[in-house]
Amino acid sequence: MNTVKLYLRSMQMLMKSQLQYPVSFLMQTLAQLVMEGGEFMAVLLIVDRFDHLNQWTPGNLYFFFGMMSVTFYLTEIFGRGITGNFPSLVRTGQLDTLLLRPRGIVTQVLCSAVDPRRVACVAVGVAALILGSRQSAVQWTTGKALAMAEAILFGVLLILGLFLIEAIFCIHSVKSIELVNAITYGGRSACQYPVDIFPRPLRLLFTIAAPFALTLHVPSAYILGKPLYGWPAWTAFVSPAAGGVLFLMLYLLFARAMRYYRSTGS
């Protein structure tokens, strides 16, 4: 529990320090709102031209979009240390300072940054979820709410895990590898649509390598009452764990990579 307390205290302190520059904070939050709002607008405009995409109605698609936005940007708010900060920690040698403290590195990296501006993006995601579930006439049950919470939780872990790949490269090469963005940001853009609209290679990529389909799409489809590939309902509660498994695997790889870390400068 002490680790959780430390994380919460760090977050509180970082929020405080962000608010040291209130105008800048407000402007940037507004900018985020415009950016993510624009993205949703684009989806609205495109989807509006179709009656349906495969079996999915426009309302269904808004729901998928919302799930991805909420999950991805919650990760960016609370996991900013990993999703954004890590390369600069390595490059500037600030990682040394973390190594000098008696706590886990991933814990400390997570404690090192927060990005509250993204709350605007999460808000857009929530709006999309509400609109989507209204238009799809979702009958909410406790089970569905649970499935959704679980999907978001494991989705956050999945995205953190994918960003750890970049961190691992970073430890070895000091510079960050933009290629990894293809599955992190690329994964976000692609998987705001349900996976079954994509050709087979992409479906495999997003089911096995970066299992957005398992963590987000299966439960979303269950909530919408149109099971993905007709899978039984219980899969919606089991398959999201794939995100947790991926995170665990990459966490272990990361810990291994840290052994090869060589610091920079003096």
């Binding site: 002490n2 205290r9 320090s17 600030q94 000098l100 008696p102 870390y261 003096s266």
Partner: protein
């Protein structure tokens, strides 16, 4: 058993150079940061660790604080191998990098401290006591509630130092702690280090380029160059080895010429000023002065003060650094 025991420590970095035009592969060079360095330090010692840039000082500190793993040799700090079981080790040491901040930039100093308390799991009572002690000794009270970014360099350094000592480490590494500080701050910092060393028995390893720091604080000094240990022992003794020359500058009334001087004196002339370098061992200063006075009446005479930096520069030169 000494507190720090380092034996034949070595570390090599591979540095890749930028690819040259017309070649497919990049050239790699091995940089031997440490080549078989051995030393030991007793508990409660305050040791200076000096050497030119790139000598391997920081590498040693990084290995002893568990950030880097050496390629060869062994090191024990308080019976622990630093790079194994990192968390257990760093709980008991403190490190201050003069160039790198460990506190949070935008938050008041006291908030940073209280987060460090949580990170190191310091019990509240011990924390309060230690904080009070450090606040008093380092005079932190005036800026404890000010965000770090608004502090002057001297204040920031004091805050950094306090931050690294909150968990009462048994060993403190200081990597150029007085870099960029004004005279008053430097003196205050030195006083504090002396106090911390004597009062709490904290072992201190001080890396610096400021020889005044070393002279004021350390009796024992280790000199490192090109990854090898070149000297380990008394500072005054080291200095006396290189402290062989004195320089005086003088001018006569009416521009009289210098008398003939014994061999071993180097004379140079700039306008009416004579600059004489001599060795006091061979030619006592009193005799030289008598000689000089016999040639005419001296209007001005300046003796260049002994400068520790010059001595060190001479030493580095002789050691081929």
């Amino acid at each position: 058993m000494p507190y720090i025991a380092v034996d034949q420590l070595s570390k090599t970095f591979t540095v890749r150079k930028k690819r040259e035009k017309g070649r497919l592969t990049r050239e790699k060079t091995a940089v031997h940061a440490l080549q078989g360095v051995s030393f030991s330090v007793e508990q409660g010692e305050l040791v200076g660790y000096i050497g030119p840039n790139g000598a391997g000082k920081s590498t040693t500190v990084k290995i002893l604080s568990g950030i880097l793993t050496p390629d060869g040799g062994s090191a024990l700090v308080g019976g622990r191998v630093p790079w194994q079981n990192r968390k257990e080790h760093v709980r008991r040491i403190g490190v201050v990098f003069g160039q790198r901040s460990q506190l949070w930039w935008d938050v008041p100093v006291i908030d940073s401290f209280s987060l460090l308390k949580d990170i190191y799991r310091v019990p509240t009572e011990a924390y309060q006591k230690r904080l009070a002690e450090l606040t008093e000794a380092l005079d932190l009270a005036p800026f404890l509630r000010t965000p770090l970014r608004l502090l002057s360099l001297g204040q920031r350094m004091r805050a950094e130092l306090a931050g690294s000592l909150l968990h009462s480490p048994e060993l403190l590494f200081l990597d150029e702690p007085t870099i960029g500080l004004d005279a008053v701050s430097k003196l205050a910092l030195r006083d504090f280090l002396k106090y911390e060393n004597e009062k709490n028995g904290t072992t201190i390893l001080l890396t610096t380029h400021d020889m005044e720091d070393i002279a004021a604080l350390c009796r024992r000094v280790m000199v490192l160059g090109h990854g090898k240990k070149l000297y380990d022992g008394d500072l005054p003794e080291l200095l006396s080895r290189y402290d062989t020359q004195r320089v005086i500058t003088l001018r006569y009334d009416g521009g009289a010429a210098l008398p003939p001087l014994p061999d071993g004196c180097q004379v140079s002339r700039e306008g009416a000023d004579y600059k004489i370098a001599y060795s006091p061992q061979a030619l006592p200063t009193a005799r030289l002065l008598t000689l000089l006075q016999s040639a005419g009446s001296i209007r001005e005479l300046t003796a260049q003060p002994e400068n520790i930096d010059h001595l060190i520069a001479a030493m580095y030169r002789e050691m081929g650094l």
